[in-house]
């Protein structure tokens, strides 16, 4: 797909600005893709959601999460909502969830917030590629002043059986002014294909979105995801990422603070195991004054696992009084574990507070010995220290039931990673 072809499909987008719009996927020569690239992407076949039946009644292995009746649930299999497995909010709630349609796209253009605009402005090659395929997905719309009475959980199950098949999705989330929502996602599946998802999220004036993504990909699966967020003034956006696995995963989070007094909180916990490569990139765009952001990422890397973290903070000349914080820590479980972490700060305003820090290392032998000398076995000691490393981040998960589920998942994952290490 060329530039021109993309423009024909999205005529309303005008001139796409960017260097990303090349004819070929970026390779290792591109700084952002140095550690993670997909050289064979052009040979991938597209699997469009519409190719699957709308009414897939085959029983799904939806993970049992004790969320109770106090949650709205949307089950999405291979890009298609499964109404019989979902508990959708009723229309009176002020929250609507449905599949993105051509009509929505048309309507969005009239409303002045066209779908695809964020992706074309800040999306990377793969996001723009997905847009060009007319990828569809969910449209979540929260009306003005609506405070969601329950958290919303989206369970995404992608079973793309064949390698080199890609399922592109495009999700849109809109929070109208002064509304609020807790949106949690559990993403998992089987097979060997690639999930390619673009999220366009608009958080209106004074609105508050808590967005939690738990990626539980199998170690045969690939994923490219870009979450693009535009925040209006006085809004809050919190993103929590838990990435427990995947063959090759590239998550990009691009947040633009388009109005004053916005706050952004980005938290991530990454646990790659053997032959798994999990890459998280953030771009925090401070383009308005008096905003703040706080990024905390931790990677616990198992035997022959790889974690990549690249955290960019851009502070525009106009963004005076910005308060930006970023920290990344990695704990390597074995000599063969790899962590590539790089903070990138581009600061063009002078009256700002920006701090960042990064640590990487293995468990401290002195700590392990101290614990053993009190009666714990080596593995007990290691697990306790590793759990302490992740627990504090998990506290940022705002839904209690999800938090304890996630902690259990994490502890099981740590057991697996330690078993492989021995």
């Amino acid at each position: 797909m060329t530039n021109t072809e993309m423009m024909t499909k999205f005529p309303h987008l005008g001139q796409a600005s960017d260097k990303h719009l090349t004819h070929e996927p970026p390779d290792f020569r591109h700084e952002d893709w140095k550690y993670t690239h997909f050289p064979q992407f052009q040979q991938y076949k597209i699997q469009l959601p519409s190719a699957l039946s709308q009414d897939d009644r085959t029983p799904l292995s939806v993970p049992k999460i004790p969320l109770g009746d106090d949650t709205w649930i949307v089950v999405v299999k291979n890009g298609v909502i499964q109404p019989n497995l979902s508990q959708l909010p009723d229309p009176s709630s002020g929250i609507s969830i449905r599949s993105l349609t051509e009509a929505d796209v048309q309507h969005s253009e009239e409303s002045g917030l066209p779908f695809g605009a964020l992706a074309m402005k800040h999306g990377h090659y793969f996001s723009q590629w997905a847009m060009a395929q007319h990828a569809a997905g969910l449209f979540i719309d929260v009306k003005k002043d609506v405070v969601a009475q329950k958290p919303l959980l989206i369970q995404t199950i992608n079973e793309i059986t064949e390698a080199k098949q890609v399922l592109p999705c495009h999700h849109v989330v809109r929070l109208a002014p002064h509304s609020s929502l807790t949106l949690s996602e559990i993403l998992e599946g089987d097979g060997a294909g690639m999930s390619l998802s673009v999220y366009e999220i608009h958080v209106g004036i004074g609105a508050n979105l808590k967005h939690n993504q738990l990626q539980l990909w199998a170690n045969s699966q690939e994923c490219i995801q870009q979450v693009l967020v535009a925040q209006e003034r006085e809004s809050q956006y919190a993103h929590f990422a838990y990435c427990s696995g995947g063959k090759k995963v590239r998550n990009q989070l691009t947040v633009s603070q388009e109005g004053q007094m916005a706050h952004t909180e980005l938290t991530g916990l990454v646990l790659p195991g053997r032959n798994e490569h999990l890459d998280n990139q953030t771009l925090m765009r401070h383009i308005s004054p008096n905003c703040s952001s706080r990024q905390r990422y931790r990677s616990l890397v198992g035997h022959e696992g790889t974690s990549v973290f690249n955290g960019k903070v851009y502070v525009d000349p106009a963004a005076q009084k910005t308060d930006a914080y970023q920290h990344h820590a990695s704990l390597l479980m074995h000599e063969s574990a790899v962590s590539n972490a790089k903070p990138e700060l581009e600061i063009y305003a002078d009256d700002v507070k920006c701090s960042h820090g990064a640590t990487t290392g293995m468990l401290d032998a002195g700590e392990v010995h101290y614990m053993r000398s009190r009666g714990l076995s080596e593995i007990q000691a290691r697990l306790m220290l590793q759990e302490a490393f992740v627990r504090d981040l998990l506290e940022s998960l705002p839904v209690e039931s999800l938090r304890s589920w996630c902690l259990n998942h994490c502890v099981e994952r740590l057991h697996d990673l330690n078993r492989l290490t021995d």
Binding site: G366, H369, R372, S373, G375, L376, Q380, L385
Partner: protein, 252 residues
């Protein structure tokens, strides 16, 4: 004999640090080891507790059983406890969940049932009060943000929780002011028991005014050069280690 150390030699990177130590501690007795800096006191206590990295020969027996090839956690479960000279901070590891795991490992080893949460909590309250460790500290991660004195009291608290057979206190008095020293010493004295022995390592005589030892040994340059009753500590305080060196030269 509760602890028997026989001709213990230890070297690290080719450097001999312990040069043939013989030491017997009967059940219920408190022995003190005094010696100048660098004489090998911490090395001796680390080796009893199972720290690796040394070339070791000789023998260490607990209740008649050779323990030199036991892992540190097995020694701990069997009743050896070392209060570290420099207690380690465990970032994010809560003191009470850590200790609960430790106590239950020791109980399992002894064939006793594990303590449930409420029984454990009650035990913890009781023992913490003994060394005046506040409930606030107990809720924190192990030693994180503790002052020097609090770390030392935390070591004695953990000792009280684990009820060891053989407790080794490596310079638990160093860095303590006089009030903290008294609290620690009183805690230790409450733990004296006919079935428990202690090895108190110190640099100064002061601690031994509070914890009265049955025997005092002087360790110099990796060997025990003199042993005696508690008055030896006083003589040593008065005359200094040079006196021992002079005595040794006379006898050799």
């Amino acid at each position: 004999m509760l602890l028997e150390i026989e001709n213990l030699r230890a070297s690290i990177e080719g450097k001999e640090i312990l040069k043939g130590i013989n030491l017997n501690i009967p059940s219920g007795e408190v022995h003190a080891i005094m010696g100048p800096n660098g004489s090998g006191k911490s090395t001796l206590s680390s080796i009893i507790a199972g720290k690796d990295g040394y070339d070791i020969s000789g023998s260490i027996r607990l209740d008649g059983q050779e323990i030199l090839d036991w892992e540190p956690e097995i020694r701990s479960r069997a009743g050896i406890f070392l209060a570290f000279q420099y207690p380690v901070e465990l970032p994010g590891v809560g003191l009470s969940s850590f200790l609960r795991a430790c106590v239950n490992e020791r109980r399992k080893y002894l064939g006793e049932p594990e303590l449930d949460a409420s029984a454990f909590l009650a035990l913890m309250r009781e023992k913490a009060a003994m060394v005046e460790l506040s409930q606030e500290l107990i809720r924190r991660p192990v030693n994180q943000g503790f002052s020097g004195g609090e770390k030392k009291r935390n070591e004695i608290f953990q000792m009280a929780m684990l009820e060891p057979r053989m407790a080794i206190l490596d310079e638990t008095d160093s860095g303590l002011d006089i009030d903290a020293l008294r609290i620690v010493a009183e805690g230790v004295n409450k733990l004296r028991h006919a079935q428990r022995s202690m090895l108190v390592i110190t640099h100064y005589q002061r601690l031994l005014e509070y914890i009265i030892p049955d025997r005092v040994h002087v360790l110099m340059d990796g060997a025990i050069v003199m042993s005696g009753d508690r008055t030896l500590a006083l003589t040593l305080e008065e005359k200094g280690y040079d006196w021992i060196r002079a005595e040794q030269e006379v006898s050799s």
